[in-house]
C-alpha cells in the first residue's frame, strides 16, 4: 500500500444514526474515521445498527465501527463478513492492538451494507479475494490509535499532567507517578468532542502484543454453543418460511400447472412466483417443502436445455477450433496495464519449432460446486416501501444495488444486513439468492419471509467453478532448460455469465490468470483463452478462482516438463526460482517437511506444487502410495508465508482447511450434466471427505517482514497438482483430468 493511501483523514460526521438505536444521549459527538479512498456521505450512518444485532449499549462512537460505552465496553462493528476465515478476530485485533482496551471484553457486531464499511483497498464492501486482512490493516489501526490519543488528551487535562506521562492499557489511562487512573468509559464523551489529531503514529510490528497472539477467536464461543446467528437462523415473529420449486437453471422460465391444488395443501400460506420458479410459503419449512415438491413445473425455456457432458466436451473443442483466442499478457497485478508484456508470437512459434524437445499435453477439470455447509438461504421483509434483507452475504453492497435495480426500489429504501455465513467460498458473493427472498417478501407485505434452498437445490443452483480444458506445449532447450511455453485454455467466462466486462483487450483473468507462472521466468510464454461462448452453465467465483484450476494445470504440467528434461521436479523448479528468494524459501521448507531427498520404498511417491500472489506464497507436498491402482495418501505438508500473521492459529486453519477443500475437488469433485441439468443430487454424489479420509496434514507458518497478505484462498490451489505429481512419482498414471477417483481407487 502506498504512503499516500496510508494517510487517514478523520472528520466529524453526522452522528444521528450510529446513535439511533444505540441510545446515546443528545449532545455527544461521534467521530468517524474516514477510511482512505472512501466516500463519506454526511448521513453515512443513517441506517443504524441492524435490529437483529445485539444493540450497542449507550455509548460514544469512535470511528464508523468503534464505539466506547460508558461502562468502558468497546463495541466493534466488523465491516466484513465472517464465513469461517476468522475476519472478525483479525480485524478486532487491529482495533485492540492500537486502542489498548480490555481486549477480552471487546465485542464484535455483525455489519450491514453501508458506505462507511467499504474496504479501503477494494473500494467496496465485500468479502472476497482474501482482501480483508490487508485492506483494513492501516485504516482500522489508525482509527483505533486516534481514538486512544483523544482519550489520553482528556485524561491529561483532567489529571493536570502532560500527555507524555500517561500510559494506556486494558481500557484505562494511568499516571504512574501519582498512581491515578481513569477508565475509557469516563473519558469517551469528552474525548469525542476534541478535534481529531492530524498525525496518527502507529506501533511498529515489534511492539505488537495482540496481533500475532494466540487467543481463541472471538466467534468461537457462540459457535460451539449453537447461538451464532447464521442466515438460516433468522427468526422473526410471525415469520413465513419458504421452500422453492425451481426450474433446471437459475435463468430458466417455468410455469406451474397445478397451483390451485397445491395452494390447498396443509400449511400453505402463499405461493409466489420468483426467479426461476416459485416460493411456497408456510409457517413451517416442512409443510412448505412438501407443497413445493408437489408443484408440477413446465419448463418454458432454459439456457442449458439438452446439455450433457458430451455437449460440454464438444463446446470445448469448438472453442479451440473456431473461437479466436484472447491473449492474457504477463503483467504486474499491482500496476496492471503499465507493465503489461505482450508475447512475441513469431518468436514463440520459432522457439517451439526449434526446441530440442517438445512436451505437449491436454488437461481437464470439470465443473465443481461450492456446497457451503449452510445451503443458500435469505430472509426479507417489506413494508411501506422499505425492503430489509438479512442473510449470509459476502457482498452486501452489491446485493443492495442488485435488489434496488431488479425490484425497482430506491437505493435508500433497501437495507441489507449480514449474518454469520455457514461457509462462503465465493458462492455467497453471488447476488442471486437474495432476490427471490425479496420477491416473496414483497408479495406478503408486513411479514418476514425466510427462504431455504434444499441441499439438492443448493447444488443444482450453484454458480459452479467452470470446467476448463487446457492444451499446453513446452519447448526444452538442449541444456534441458525450459525455453518456451504456450498454454491455451477453453471454458466459460465468469465475467460473461454475470454480464460483467473483463479488462479491455485481454482475456478474462478469472479463466486465464496465471496459467503460466511468471515466477519461473520462462524466456518465452503465451497464454491464450478460447471462450466457450455457447455454454451457459451458471458459473462463479470458487475459492481462489482461477488459481484453483490453473495451479493444477501449470504445476502438474511443469512436472511433466521436468521429467521430460530428465530432471528432478524440485531441482527443476529451484533452478528457475533463483531470483525469487521468498518463493524458494517456502518451496524448500515443504520439500524438507515431506522428506524429498530421503530414499523411499517402491510404490511410494512425492509430489510438490506452489501457488503465490502478491499476498502469499504457499508450497504443498504430498507422499502417496499407489499399489495396484489403489491410492493411499500418507501425508500432506504445507509451508506458507503471508507476511506478518495477525492470527497464526487462524492462518494455520485456513491453510489446512483450504487443503481439505482442494482435496475434495481433486479426488471426487465433479458436477456432471445430463438432460440439461446438473446430474448430482446431494452429498452422496458430490462426495465430501470425512474425518477418516483425511491424512495427517502439517502446516509450517513462515511469517516474513512483508506487508500482511491473505490466507483464505492459498491452501486450496496446489493440492491437486502436488497429488497428481506424487501419483506419477509413485509409478502410477499421469493424471491429467480431475477428479482422480475416475482413474484410481481411493
Amino acid at each position: 500500500m502506498s504512503e499516500q493511501r496510508d494517510v487517514i483523514a478523520l472528520s466529524t460526521i453526522n452522528r444521528r444514526a450510529f446513535l439511533r438505536g444505540g441510545g446515546i444521549g443528545a449532545g455527544a459527538l461521534v467521530i468517524a474515521a474516514s477510511l482512505p479512498g472512501m466516500l463519506l456521505p454526511t448521513d453515512a450512518l443513517a441506517d443504524g445498527p441492524p435490529p437483529g444485532a445485539a444493540p450497542p449499549p449507550p455509548q460514544l462512537g469512535f470511528g464508523a465501527m468503534i464505539a466506547i460505552a460508558r461502562d468502558g465496553v468497546v463495541s466493534f462493528i466488523c465491516p466484513s463478513s465472517e464465513m469461517g476465515q476468522g475476519t472478525q478476530e483479525t480485524l478486532a485485533r487491529y482495533v485492540g492492538e492500537e486502542l489498548d482496551c480490555d481486549y477480552a471484553r471487546l465485542k464484535v457486531l455483525l455489519p450491514w451494507a453501508d458506505p462507511l464499511f467499504v474496504n479501503p483497498m477494494m473500494r467496496r464492501q465485500m468479502t472476497a479475494n482474501s482482501a480483508t486482512t490487508v485492506g483494513y490493516f492501516t485504516a482500522l489501526r489508525k482509527a483505533a490509535a486516534a481514538s486512544r490519543m483523544l482519550l489520553v488528551q482528556v485524561a491529561a487535562q483532567r489529571l493536570g499532567v502532560a500527555e507524555g506521562e500517561l500510559t494506556t492499557a486494558n481500557g484505562v489511562v494511568r499516571h504512574a507517578a501519582s498512581g491515578r487512573s481513569i477508565g475509557y468509559g469516563d473519558l469517551a464523551e469528552a474525548a469525542a468532542k476534541l478535534p481529531v489529531p492530524a498525525q496518527v503514529p502507529l506501533r511498529p510490528a515489534s511492539a505488537w502484543t495482540i496481533i500475532g497472539g494466540s487467543t481463541p477467536r472471538k466467534d468461537l464461543a457462540a459457535k460451539v454453543r449453537g447461538s451464532a446467528e447464521f442466515g438460516i437462523d433468522v427468526v422473526r415473529p410471525g415469520m413465513l418460511i419458504g421452500a422453492l420449486a425451481l426450474g433446471p437453471h437459475p435463468r430458466a422460465k417455468v410455469q406451474a400447472t397445478n397451483l390451485d391444488k397445491v395452494r390447498t395443501m396443509p400449511g400453505v400460506t402463499a405461493i409466489v412466483p420468483v426467479e426461476a420458479g416459485y416460493a411456497v410459503l408456510s409457517p413451517r419449512f416442512w409443510q412448505a417443502k412438501k407443497a413445493a415438491e408437489a408443484l408440477e413445473l413446465k419448463v418454458l425455456s432454459s439456457p442449458t436445455a439438452g446439455l450433457d457432458d458430451k455437449g460440454i466436451d464438444a463446446a470445448m473443442e469448438r472453442a479451440f477450433a473456431s473461437v479466436p483466442p484472447m491473449e492474457f499478457p504477463d503483467f504486474d497485478f499491482a500496476t496492471m496495464r503499465p507493465k503489461e508484456k505482450r508475447a512475441d508470437r513469431a518468436a514463440i512459434t520459432a522457439a517451439l519449432a526449434g526446441a530440442a524437445k517438445r512436451v505437449e499435453a491436454t488437461y481437464d477439470v470439470p465443473y465443481v460446486a461450492h456446497a457451503t455447509m449452510e445451503p443458500l438461504t435469505c430472509s426479507a421483509h417489506f413494508a411501506d416501501g422499505q425492503l430489509t434483507v438479512r442473510g449470509p452475504l459476502q457482498s452486501p453492497e452489491a446485493v443492495r444495488t442488485e435488489l434496488s435495480q431488479v425490484l425497482n426500489i430506491p437505493f435508500d429504501k433497501v437495507r441489507v444486513e449480514v449474518t454469520y455465513l455457514g461457509g462462503g467460498f465465493g458462492r455467497k458473493w453471488g447476488v442471486d439468492f437474495p432476490v427471490p427472498a425479496a420477491q416473496a417478501a414483497i408479495a406478503t407485505p408486513g411479514r418476514w419471509v425466510k427462504l431455504i434452498w434444499t441441499r439438492e437445490q443448493d447444488i443444482a443452483m450453484d454458480q459452479f467453478r467452470p470446467a476448463y480444458r487446457v492444451r499446453q506445449t513446452a519447448g526444452i532447450g538442449a541444456d534441458g532448460r525450459l525455453q518456451v511455453m504456450h498454454s491455451r485454455i477453453a471454458g466459460q467466462s465468469i465475467n460473461t455469465y454475470h454480464h460483467r466486462k473483463s479488462p479491455p483487450g485481454i482475456a478474462d483473468p478469472t479463466a486465464a490468470g496465471m496459467l503460466i507462472y511468471g515466477c519461473y521466468g520462462i524466456p518465452q510464454s503465451l497464454i491464450e483463452y478460447h471462450e466457450t461462448k455457447d455454454l451457459s452453465v451458471p458459473v462463479g467465483f470458487w475459492r481462489s478462482v482461477s488459481a484453483s484450476q490453473n495451479t493444477f494445470f501449470a504445476e502438474a504440467f511443469l512436472d511433466e516438463v521436468a521429467r521430460a528434461a530428465g530432471k528432478d521436479p524440485l531441482a527443476y523448479r529451484r533452478a528457475m526460482l533463483a531470483g525469487e528468494p521468498r518463493i524458494l524459501r517456502v518451496l524448500d521448507k515443504a520439500a524438507d517437511m515431506i522428506g524429498w531427498s530421503k530414499p523411499k520404498p517402491r510404490g511410494t511417491g512425492h509430489g510438490i506444487a506452489i501457488t503465490y500472489n502478491e499476498g502469499h506464497v504457499c508450497a504443498e507436498a504430498v507422499r502417496v502410495r499407489v499399489v495396484k491402482g489403489k491410492l493411499t495418501i500418507e501425508k500432506i505438508v504445507a509451508a506458507f508465508d503471508c507476511g506478518p500473521m495477525i492470527d497464526p492459529k487462524g492462518v494455520e486453519s485456513q491453510i489446512s482447511g483450504g487443503i481439505v477443500f482442494g482435496l475434495q475437488a481433486a479426488i471426487w469433485g465433479e458436477i456432471p450434466f445430463a438432460e440439461g441439468r446438473p446430474n448430482v443430487a446431494n452429498f452422496g454424489e458430490f462426495r465430501m471427505p470425512l474425518l477418516a479420509d483425511i491424512p495427517p496434514i502439517e502446516v509450517a507458518l513462515m511469517p516474513s517482514g512483508e506487508r500482511p497478505g491473505n490466507a483464505g484462498e492459498a491452501g486450496t490451489p496446489p493440492i491437486a497438482a502436488a497429488l497428481v505429481n506424487a501419483i506419477a512419482d509413485a509409478g502410477g498414471p499421469r493424471i491429467r483430468r480431475l477428479p482422480i477417483a475416475r482413474m484410481l481407487e481411493i
Binding site: 469461517g84 416442512w286 455447509m373 452422496g684
Partner: protein, 155 residues
Amino acid sequence: MAEIKLTVNGAQRVVDSDADTPLLWALRDDLGLVGTKFGCGAGLCGACTVHVEGQAVRSCQFPVSDAAGKAVTTIEGLAPSADQPHAVQAAWVAQQVPQCGYCQPGMIMAVAALLKETPHPTEQAIREGITNICRCGTYPRVVAAVQQAAKALAG
C-alpha cells in the same frame, strides 16, 4: 397435524406438527431452537445431530412423532449454562476447531455421544466414529479436541 409431547433440554414441550415432520424442523420451526442445523436433509452430513434418550441421532431423518415421550437434548441444552460449557465445547474452543461453525453443533453433539459410550476412544475409533461433514475442513483439529475432551471428562 397432531400434538406431540416430548422433553427438550429438560423442559416439557408440545409440538403441533405433521407426524412425519423431521425432529429437525420441529425443533427449529416449532420450538425456535435453531442451534441444530440443516445441512443435507438426507442423513449424510450430521449437521442436524441431537441426542434422543442420550443417543446421537440425525434429526433430519427422525420423525418428531418417534420422539413422543422421549428426552431430546440439543446443542442449546448440552451445557448446564453459558458460562459452564460442556467439556467438548470447551475443548473445541481451546483447540480452535470451528471455522464457519455451521457444522459444529452437530459435530459436537456427535462427539459428546461418542464419549458417553466410549470414554477413552482410540484415534481410530474417533476417526471412524465421527462421520460428520465439515466443508471448511476443520478435521485436522478434531482428533486432538476429542482427546482433550475425553481427558477432561475423565477428570
